[in-house]
Symmetry: C2
Subunit: 371 residues, 2 copies
């Protein structure tokens, strides 16, 4: 055990010893990241030496039926918070600066660079032990291909949870809302509270969200260990398929069949049946993106996606590229440009879709595969 | 090792010792079935004591591009044989009777009962060491939900390969055709021979098959170790999805994404693009069958499929039910009726789709699942 390790609280020392955590570095800051869950601590739990743990963000179960699901999951009141299509970060105040941690527990050079554009960090001077959990969403993000339709450029952040350093539990919704108002923080849209008997109101809310192309809701009961569950719209199922169909064989097929099942159970609970328009939308979700990949492959010999994002500091863009290379492997990342545009450094890069590329390469060559 | 084991040829003795083969029984006949591949012998290889091995039927690789695939796989001439949508059996003459082995190597009581209706077995008196490999297809079969559109009742058999007992290689197509003519056996439609340069003719043939709702072709080069590859139509991809969508979560999602990929590569090679009709057909393939399952589940509390088939002998129907119970487990098989109708005993039974039933049960109860 190194001297630095002894400055760490448990369970991080044990996690390091058991190979379930790793030292990482961002700028001159070293920190430990849990690479697996251990003893009730979630994967992605992070420790900056000398500071309490930043708990990992837990996975939230999904219900496929609204009425029965709410009745089954929530004996008491719950809030309904809009689920936004972006990536999950935890924002923590460390040695006088605000850092953004990804779900896996890395300091994200992109989000950290842009965090002051996304929300006002001044409240952390008063509450340096607060952790903000936020969804970062928008077309100019370096991680996810989708984006909520109402964000037409760059990225925005939506705080959906708060907790104290060293704690895994979240603050009650009223406290979260009050703090957000006080600090002027952008919150994910929050509805309620409801009780399960009010499911028709929740259903109406979901129909409105579905109409405008939104993902769904996360239901949250207050209090330590308060239950949580998510439920997504008809739109969400179709959208997920369309966004990932270009990568059809890159991810397990169950990703797609799971979405088809969600969609069918949503329609069924609405009393709807498949109709020509919906069938065509589902068929298009699978085929159109897949044809984009075939076209791209025939043009460039590979399947890839182009990402674009803006940085304040050039060094952060470079550090972000290094970070991605480490995660994706050198061969699957191709920087396209890094150029100054006004107050920003604009980074564009391609992420290759390696299994899809490899399979299409084989198949277009005429390979025979046993399935 | 029992005394009976010593009467077995290798590799069956070794396979039994290593737990890769099992003794089975049909009527008063005992035989050994290879439950795993071993040392180049395919799973489903069977031995009747005192007789040479019945080699397992090998898996045939699939090409996704016709022109490149044929050029890549076939340096010389090959035959194109219609691929029919049924189940694979091997017919062997044992102690004066014709037995049908399933791909897994069980004696199938149904096919064995009906084999004399499917083809004339009299040739086996002259060639008792011949093995016929055949597809049994039609709506009244107890295994597969689909059926070729031109078979409107009962089942039919189509011989597509012949080999000698004790040999894994197949007879050349000309010999197969001559023997079939001589014996009056029904052959799977056989086209060719072709060479790869004639791929436009093969393509035209596939278009014709696609138009009338057929699966595709199996390409076979003659000679020991002759190459084989299969290629399926646009129709086949859509049809497979439609037939299995009611069982959406019962099988790996890759089953479905693989079919979508085949479909897209077929269209792409045809120079076609997704159009509204095709999108709607694909969406319908996923959704319509899945809704049938939801409806069935709400009505009966489970997802199941009803099968119907006809036997000559009541004892064979009973033996078939026992066989299915063993394969499926007792709880997943529900006999509906076994009644005399003219010259036949008609058996109807339901096969439950257990994972689908279990998952829908959970979801309709309001369970939350982490995905």
């Amino acid at each position: 055990m190194s001297k630095t390790d002894t400055a760490l609280p448990e369970p991080m020392r044990e996690a390091l010893e058991r190979g379930k955590a790793r030292w990482e570095q961002f700028d001159d800051l070293r920190y430990v990241r849990m690479t697996d869950g251990m003893g009730g601590h979630a994967k992605g739990t992070v420790c900056f030496p000398g500071r309490p743990l930043v708990a990992g963000y837990p996975h939230i179960g999904r219900i496929f039926r609204l009425e029965r699901g709410l009745r089954q999951q929530f004996a008491g009141p719950f809030w309904a918070e809009e689920k936004l299509d972006g990536y999950n970060v935890r924002l923590v105040w460390v040695e006088g600066r605000l850092l953004a941690l990804t779900r896996g527990g890395y300091v994200c050079p992109f989000t950290t660079d842009r965090v002051a554009d996304l929300l006002d960090p001044s409240g952390f001077a008063r509450e340096p032990d607060l952790v903000l959990c936020a969804e970062v969403a928008g077309p100019d993000n370096p991680y996810s291909l989708g984006s909520p339709p109402f964000i037409t450029e760059d990225v925005r952040a939506f705080v959906f949870d708060m907790r104290w350093l060293g704690h895994a539990d979240f603050l009650p919704a009223a406290r979260k809302r009050a703090l957000a108002e006080d600090w002027g923080l952008p919150l994910a849209p929050l509805f309620g509270p409801f009780v399960a008997d009010q499911w028709p109101e929740v259903r109406a809310l979901l129909r409105d969200l579905d109409q405008v192309g939104r993902e769904g809701l996360v239901f949250k009961a207050d209090g330590p260990g308060g239950r949580r569950a998510k439920y997504v719209t008809r739109f969400s199922g179709l959208y997920d398929i369309a966004v990932r169909a270009p990568d059809l064989v890159e991810i397990p097929g169950d990703f797609f069949t799971g979405r088809v099942l969600r969609l069918a159970l949503y329609l069924d609970e609405e009393g709807a049946r498949p109709d020509p328009e919906l069938r065509e939308r589902l068929g298009a979700a699978f085929l159109d993106g897949l044809f984009d990949s075939l076209d791209g492959f025939k043009r460039e010999g590979r399947v890839s996606h182009t990402f674009r994002c803006r940085f304040r500091e050039r060094a952060n863009a470079e550090s972000f590229l290094l970070h991605l290379r480490e995660i994706l492997g050198h061969t699957h990342l191709r920087p396209r440009r890094l150029e100054r545009e006004g107050a920003f450094w604009v980074l564009e890069f391609d992420k290759e879709v390696p299994k899809m590329t490899g399979l299409l390469h084989q198949l277009y060559q005429g390979a025979a595969l046993v399935d």
